[in-house]
Amino acid sequence: MSVLTENSSNSAKAPYQIKLEIFEGPLDLLLYLIKKEEIDIYDIPIAHITEEYLKYVQLMQELDIDFASEFLVMAATLIHIKSKMLLPVSTTELNELENVEDPRNELVNLLLEHKKFKSAAEMLWSRAEVEQGVFTRAPLESDKENPEVAATVFDLVAAFKSLLDKRKEQLQVEIANDKITLTQKINEIKNLFKTENKISVSKLFLKASSKAEMVIIFLAVLELTKESIIGLLQTETFGEIIAIKIHDTFTNKANN
């Protein structure tokens, strides 16, 4: 997440100095605050840091910056720790002071762990920097004896997924192609009526080679009925539906 933050020290008087900070997550933001306020990580003034933290979260909200829900979870954690620290410690607890767990411990451990991995990332960064300057020989003829792509299970899933996606596209294209043939279908049926006066609708469907084509035939019949070029006739309930030619001049139209 990127956040515009005000420059801390003289924000009251000087006009806000805005600079861009990158916080990868709540732990990053906390580490930033600890560094900025020069706080001892082993003795965090939790009330103060919570206040500072909430200021930033509020700022993000005000600036309408899209930030991860993890930031709010951490805010809740901080408030929880703060409230625990405010609770009076009973005398019996005081007697066994060493056994009383500091409510900040878990957070401190998280922060230290996070910091370690940040340093490890920097180590990787500088290693990569060196290795980027290292080149291996150009491909040789003999490499081709093994024309290969390294493969892991991730490659398997990715290959399978892209095949499925390709298929989905193809199906869509097929349906799209069929849509173009609605006019053709209408003309086809019109042509049939040049020589016939009535045709059983189920016979029209028999010619369909796919579900999609059946839908197109159905649409074509509806279209022709709407334009009163043909009429539909059913002599008994659930009986055969017959299409009958009604528009006498349509053959001439089609010939034009």
């Binding site: 080149f135 291996t136 020989r137 150009a138 491909p139 003999s142 004896e145 093994n146 024309p147 290969e148 792509v149 390294a150 493969a151 892991t152 299970v153 991730f154 490659d155 398997l156 899933v157 990715a158 290959a159 399978f160 997924k161 095949l163 499925l164 390709k166 298929r167 193809q170």
Partner: protein, 177 residues
């Protein structure tokens, strides 16, 4: 630069070039030095490099310079290339393997339908590498052979059993966008 500073650069350039590299190209890459000086450094480098008791040599070939193995060692090289591990797959084989892994048991016509292209040579490779095995015949016209993945497949992809095979949902979030 001194000559002993120029020589390693030339050596590195010859090494990374995918064609015999020409003197002209070397001079372009080391533009801060005089071509005359570079040519002399090159000749000295070749003499040094080839003077070692080495399996490699720098040779002038079709107007350029190239590092290659000395013919004397070709027998051992051939022996190595033959046994070269082949844990890797071509893209066609990988795709076919993916279809078989996720849709097993599956027949060749069914694979054809999913991939849209004939996969017989990929299937041959996969069989040779023992990544797939026949799993009986399908009860339909022609009774085609069905294929599935093998134990070797599990080993090569580091899976305990087929249930460990990641499914698309596992990567949904990662594969989209």
């Amino acid at each position: 630069m001194t000559r002993s500073q120029i020589k390693p650069i030339i050596e590195a350039l010859i090494f990374v070039a995918d064609q015999p590299i020409q003197l002209k190209e070397i001079c372009q890459a080391i533009s801060e030095e005089e071509p005359q000086e570079i040519q002399e450094a090159l000749l000295e480098l070749v003499k040094d490099f080839n003077g070692r008791e080495s399996g490699l040599e720098i040779r002038e070939i079709s107007g350029g310079w190239r590092i290659s193995t000395r013919p004397f060692y070709h027998e051992h090289i051939r022996r190595y290339l033959k046994t070269k591990p082949s844990a890797k797959l071509s893209l066609a084989s990988l795709e076919t393997l993916a279809v078989i892994a996720y849709k097993q048991p599956i027949t060749i016509p069914e694979i054809l339908e999913i991939r849209g292209v004939s996969s017989s040579s990929a299937i041959k490779t996969l069989l040779e590498r023992r990544l797939i095995v026949p799993k009986g015949r399908k009860d339909c016209v022609g009774r085609p052979i069905m294929y599935g993945t093998s134990k070797e497949f599990l080993i090569q992809f580091g899976l305990k059993d087929l249930s460990e095979l990641p499914n698309i949902e596992d990567f949904e979030e990662l594969l989209t966008n």
